[in-house]
């Protein structure tokens, strides 16, 4: 077990280093972008005096390196700073948005992950027969259509025509859990459709890979039922690649759903980030970038650790 602990410590340290590098990259990126915060805040109605006043007030006259280290110092003490544009405390604002994003991602994952794995197992059980072909065709088609189109089509039928659920999914604190779930039902369905194919295909491929092994043949010769063989013998041995792809998709559900958020007017992190990028609000962009990077790195780390634990060969490297 100490080997496992060492491995964990190593991974976490690497993750932190990556985060640090990411923060430099994001900062450099926002500096390279044309235009500055003051101009973006005041827009077309900016006068030279107003611009100069705002720049001075926001501390934009300091050199970038000074601003970066000032910010980094704050973050290390757990202070993400205040937004340049609205003067709000970033941690509070992000906390709410992140909560919303995780809420949506959680329900989408809760439905899509078991469904994808189940469909994968069914596809293997009936491989090359019609259930396999139908599942593959439908999921591949859904991943090939751009997500905003699926979203618009879903809105047209389920919201405008049938009026089952709203298309504006602005949730707020005064709603009960039931109301919230009803509100986000269409985006959850769309996200499920979007991430399903990738996970389903990987499950199918990974299990099929194992199905060629001799011990599966033995199990078959013992007279076990096909589905039991897949579930009890093949699936545990192909968990690593499946977990990897599941984690990638979960990361996508957290960091990559800005288009869905815009179409459904969902108050999540993506929309929040985009608003601040277009206003060059560097502290907010950095905080969001850092959180997104942390989610991505964290989920990938979990995937790594699960594959190591599930595979004795990786647990005892020679």
């Amino acid at each position: 077990m100490p080997l496992l602990v060492r491995l964990l410590v190593q991974r976490i340290a690497l993750g932190l280093l990556l985060l640090f590098l990411v923060s430099i990259l994001i900062f450099a990126g926002t500096i390279i972008l044309p235009g500055d915060v003051a101009q973006s805040i005041l827009g077309q109605s900016a006068t030279p005096e107003a611009l100069a006043n705002l720049r001075r007030e926001l501390g934009l006259n300091d050199p970038p390196v000074t601003r970066y280290f000032h910010w980094l110092g704050g973050v290390l003490q757990g202070d993400l700073g205040t937004a340049l544009t609205s003067g709000q405390d970033i941690a509070t604002a992000i906390g709410k948005r992140l909560g919303n994003t995780l809420f949506l991602a959680f329900w989408a994952a809760l439905i899509s992950v078991p469904l994808a794995i189940l469909l994968g197992l069914i596809a293997v059980r009936y491989r090359e027969r019609w259930p396999d072909k139908v599942i593959s065709a439908v999921t591949l088609a859904s991943i090939s259509v751009p997500e905003f189109l699926i979203a618009y089509v879903a809105i047209f039928f389920f919201s405008v025509r049938l009026r089952w659920a709203p298309s504006v999914t602005t949730i707020n604190d005064s709603m009960t859990l039931g109301e919230k779930l009803h509100t986000i039902s269409i985006p959850v369905a769309v996200l499920t459709v979007v991430v399903l194919a990738h996970m389903m295909r990987m499950t199918r491929a990974a299990i099929l890979n194992v199905m060629q092994s001799a011990y599966i043949e033995t199990a078959e010769l013992k007279g076990m039922r096909m589905f039991n063989i897949i579930w009890k013998h093949a699936f545990p041995n192909s968990v690593a690649p499946i977990v990897n792809v599941v984690m990638l998709n979960m990361a996508y559900l957290v960091v990559g759903v800005v288009v869905i958020e815009v179409v459904f007017t969902y108050p999540g992190m993506g929309q929040y980030l985009v608003d601040h990028v277009s206003k060059r609000d560097i502290p907010v962009v950095q905080a969001c970038g850092l959180i997104f990077a942390a989610v991505y790195i964290g989920l990938n780390m979990i995937a790594d650790i699960v594959s190591i634990i599930s595979n004795p060969r990786l647990r005892h490297p020679k």
Partner: protein
Amino acid sequence: MNDQLKYLTRRAASGLMTRREFVGRAGALGVSAVAATTMLSSAVKAAGPVKGGTLRMGLQGGSTTDSLDPALSTNQVSLMLIRLWGEPLVELTDDGGLQGKVAESFEASADAKTWTFTVRQGLTFSNGQEVTAADVAETLDRHSGEDTKSGALGLLRDIANVRTDGRNVIIELNNANADLPYLMADYHLVIQPGGGKSAPDAAIGTGPYVLKDVDMGVRIVAEKNPNYWGDLGNAETIELVVINDNTARVAALQSGQVDLIDRVPPRTAGLVSRAPGVTVASTAGPGHYVFIAHVNTAPFDNQDLMLALKYGMNRQELVDKVLFGYGSVGNDSPINASYPLYTEFEQREYDPDKAAHHFKKSGHDGPVLLRTSDNSFPGAPDAAALFQQSLAGAGIELEIKREPNDGYWSEVWNNKPFCTSYWGGRPTQDQMFTTAYLSSADWNDTRFNNEQFDQLLIAARAELDTGKRTQMYADMGTILRDEGGLICPMFNDFVDAYTDKLGGWVENVNGFALMNSYAPLRMWVNA
């Protein structure tokens, strides 16, 4: 009564259909003329303002980065929020005149250099504090002071001194200005307690609503201010949801999640208006889409080249294909009939022969470079492509450079010599010209520098004789049209939509979209 008949009755009652038309259409549904007339008169009685209920609207333009500080307001949503909680000294009337809000009355000295505004008696802020002349003076000071960031600073530059005397606020100007009260109607200049100096974003004012639940760029809930002095505000609660995506906004209206939206895309407005229970309202306004050239920069300093470009623009085609008819043709002047002292002059038409003639005379060789982006105005790249085609008809080559949306306003507009852009317009000629065409203007985005024009503008400000002023503005319009760097192909209408759950829409209100942003305050929720 069936739905169709109900709908007709409501339209007729709110004046969208004539009585004769109504009786005819009702007859087609099998209702006798006498019954129809009775039906209509009871509907008219019932159609008066209904108090209470929740009015829900979906607006474009809000962002999580918005501030509640009116000085920093730049978009439709922050403007709407200001309308809810605050009021300026005066406001535009529907036909472009002025009415008092925080100010009960106002008057000028004979030379229009000193203006006196009298604060309304017994007016209180939503925090219970009484409104004093000092609050007004402090507000003006905050927007015009040395270290201000206010978008209204440009308007207030000419103020020499503001002092108070009892309930009077006395504004002294460096130069005479007959339009000063119009400047006070600017939406940035809402009166705040102590001028909003200590808490600029507290959203405390004298408006008909009080903000209750604020999540900037997402959703804002406002409730009726019980102590409001005026007759605005019928709904008990107003819920504003920011829906920036066009399709999502229209879908929200069609599925009944909101009852009022702005910026219906002209492309789909026809389709939307055919949906049952939805009315699309198009309002002509001062907003215009422009192609602007710096007339002090080669090759646009060449008058003949500018004229070639102006004659090479097919204005009607742009109105038809870019605005889908929701607009009117422009005439290379920023002024149209929505301005109070407008004079019509000869419409410049597409004339490839004249364009070719001037192009030849200009001696210019090679293509002309135009920069454009999606956000410079809706459909700008399409408009640029149409311009390219119509110029090609005159043998002029236009090269189009597509710029990213991001950074367009800081890197391209008012920076590069020839690009596409838009103007929202201003309530008066003086403001529009002063903002963008005076040689010393902050946003002189055509680098227009004409001595005669500047002199006329200053003289017109001090001129209290309306006839003479009108003539002066007509002369300035002609100078701009013939010598300016502005190619104005079209004025865009505001296209808004509402469902039949709401009543009280008024056609052709002057100012901004959504009845000068007063729609939620003046409309009501049908019981």
